[in-house]
């Protein structure tokens, strides 16, 4: 991090004083603002995780600090089933997380989310990579037109054309299927554009050498180009997976009612729909479970994630 010459930076003399800590009003003020901001940003995460630990009473009365007292409480549903009262006393955190999995097929939702995001990414790559290669390294009639089309299609947000896409899928009888969740995302013009820009930087003699060795164009893509493109591809993978794991709008439109096809965001939304007082804890547990995989992955590989998500910032 730079410490000189930038706007609002501490006086230059302070930074020249070496690593020893020096009190500086400007520096303290900056941290004060940044910490306040952090508190606001973290607030809902705190609420989410904290409520996923607490009993209904603690949630309703706003007690118990972060972890809750973890005192046993009576699970009314279990009592209703006619079980013994002693068997129905549960620890809040265990109750919340087990209910999250029992009340709704959460594992199924997570599995669906995984299938959909992975299928989307794999198909996007299978379609985009050859096209990007041809646009970058092959000369053929109509190349400029195809690239122009790619540039035009970059203007179109897929969510905005959801309605005609929905009609098309409905006409084909494909709503309420994995296909409906995947098909609109199979073409990533952004992926084509990105990979094309990347392939432009790959030296031609690498490809020529491969051709000399008798490689077909098709295997050049997968054996020569793909390995050089791994960093860009990884960034694109993160971009794609984050977008589709978190997507709510599209699944909401094409999946109606059939729970076995719900993706995690839909499952959580359904949970909210029929949540009553006792279910806030389990609902927050569900939210935590859905949000955690990406957050953890992000914390482990921050640099890569930030690169991937901001990829769209590349010209």
């Amino acid at each position: 991090m730079s410490d000189t010459a930038l706007p609002a930076s501490a006086p230059v003399s302070a930074s020249r004083a070496g690593p020893a800590f020096r009190f500086s009003v400007a520096e303290t003020a900056k941290h004060l603002i940044l910490v306040l901001g952090s508190l606001v940003v973290l607030l809902p995460f705190y609420v989410m995780v904290s409520y996923s630990f607490k009993s209904p009473a603690e949630i309703m009365q706003n007690m118990g600090g972060f972890f809750g007292a973890q005192e046993l409480f009576r699970d009314d549903y279990c009592v209703k089933l006619g079980r013994d009262l002693a068997d129905c006393m549960v620890t809040p955190v265990i109750y919340n997380y087990t209910t999250a999995f029992q009340k709704a097929p959460l594992l199924r939702y997570l599995f669906n989310g995984l299938v959909v995001t992975i299928s989307i990414f794999v198909i996007q790559v299978l379609v985009a990579l050859p096209c990007a290669y041809a646009l970058a390294k092959l000369r053929f009639w109509g190349r400029e037109a195809v690239f122009g089309l790619v540039l035009f299609c970059l203007l179109i947000p897929v969510h905005a054309i959801a309605l005609p896409l929905y009609i098309m899928l409905a006409k084909l009888g494909l709503t309420n299927s994995y296909a409906a969740l995947v098909i609109p995302w199979t073409i990533s013009v952004f992926g084509i554009f990105l990979m094309r820009q990347f392939f432009m930087t790959v030296p031609d003699n690498l490809i020529d050498a491969a051709r000399m060795d008798g490689m077909r164009e098709f295997s050049i893509i997968w054996n020569v180009m793909l390995p050089t493109a791994i960093p860009a591809l990884l960034a694109f993978a993160i971009f794609s997976v984050v977008a589709h794991w978190n997507d709510y709008f599209w699944p909401r439109i094409v999946i109606t009612g059939d729970r076995s096809l719900f993706t995690p965001p839909l499952g959580l939304r359904e949970f909210k729909g029929d949540a009553d007082g006792d279910n806030f804890g389990p609902m927050m547990a569900t939210a935590t479970i859905i949000v955690t995989p990406l957050i953890v992955a992000f914390l482990i590989a921050q640099r890569r994630f930030i690169e991937g998500i901001t990829l769209s910032g590349m010209k």
Binding site: V47, M284, K315
Partner: protein, 306 residues
């Protein structure tokens, strides 16, 4: 470079999908917007510009544009401004910069629908953490602020169900979710500002931090800003998750949060009024494409593709 016809095998699938998935729907939306089509009906009646006339005359759609523009014009400046502010602060502090960066980026990674549900909880009038925290401020110096004193007396706002607050609260969540993304783009932009420029500016008498910002940082961040503003516009135009989570029916108190994506969803998917939904889609696409074209024009004044 030769290519023995292989190229059409490479370009073909992408070309086909671009035409079928991206271009055809636009034409379809355009065509349907002149009809009163409903899914399940055998045909569709041509209604001319009726749907567009409704959009630009009826009060429901006036509310739709009102809500959308209010949302967009709060979220874009605030999320860009806070993104820039956070980036400048983080870039200039000596310690913990990476930690702040990580924290501010968290909302970008989290599923918005999940966080919307959590926010609804946090903003709950009686059990929510926001209002119960505010209540703790009662009886302190904060009561000197008339808004706060009124809150202590009559209860703090029903953030999501009071129509005076609803759209601003939803916009706040939009800012909360989006500014970390802009911050990261600005941080990347800042690393590419050459150091020498600051020294040169100092030589020329730019002594204060504000001068350095005005003369060097801000102009050098121009391309980043163009991009950040455009992408913020496009993202905020598409707001849906929070609105649907808070107001599954009808778009909030007195339709004050009836944004365009939600209107499309409600009209077309819930009520099966494809014609009007298609017309809103066309208007929406026109907005978004216009914005992107403006951005490209601004960018292309400096750099060229390929």
């Amino acid at each position: 470079m030769r290519s023995g016809g292989a190229h059409w095998w490479f370009v073909g699938p992408a070309l086909f999908l671009m035409v079928v998935i991206l271009l055809m729907p636009i034409l379809m939306a355009g065509a349907l917007s002149f009809t009163s089509y409903s899914l399940g009906n055998p045909g569709a009646a041509f209604v001319g510009f009726d749907n567009y006339e409704k959009i630009f005359t009826r009060s429901t759609y006036a509310k739709m544009f009102g809500a959308t523009f209010r949302y967009v014009f709060v979220v874009v400046p605030l999320s860009v401004g806070l993104g820039l502010g956070a980036a400048l602060l983080i870039n200039s502090t000596k310690r913990f910069g990476d930690l702040y960066k990580t924290i501010y980026f968290l909302p970008v990674m989290a599923a918005l629908i999940a966080m919307a549900i959590v926010w609804e909880f946090a903003l709950h009038p009686t059990v929510g953490i926001v209002n119960s925290t505010l209540e703790r401020g009662c009886g302190t110096f904060l009561e000197g602020w008339s808004w706060f004193a009124r809150g202590c007396e009559r209860g703090f706002p029903l953030w999501l169900t009071d129509r005076d607050y609803a759209i601003w609260t939803v916009a706040f969540i939009g800012v909360w979710q989006g500014f970390g993304f802009n911050m990261v783009l600005y941080l990347a932009g800042l690393t590419s500002v050459p150091r020498e420029l600051y020294h040169a500016a100092e030589m020329d008498g730019a002594k204060s931090a504000w001068d350095r910002f005005r003369l060097v940082t801000w102009p050098m961040l121009g391309p980043t800003t163009v991009f950040v503003v455009t992408i913020s516009f496009i993202r905020s135009f598409q707001v849906f998750d929070t609105v649907e989570a808070f107001y599954p029916q009808g778009g909030g108190p007195s339709k004050s949060v009836y944004v365009m994506m939600f209107a499309i969803y409600e009209k077309a998917i819930q009520q099966n009024l494809m014609g009007i939904g298609a017309a809103i889609t066309v208007v929406f696409l026109a907005f978004v494409m216009f914005l992107t074209l403006v951005q490209r024009w601004l960018v292309e004044k400096r750099v060229h593709y390929s």
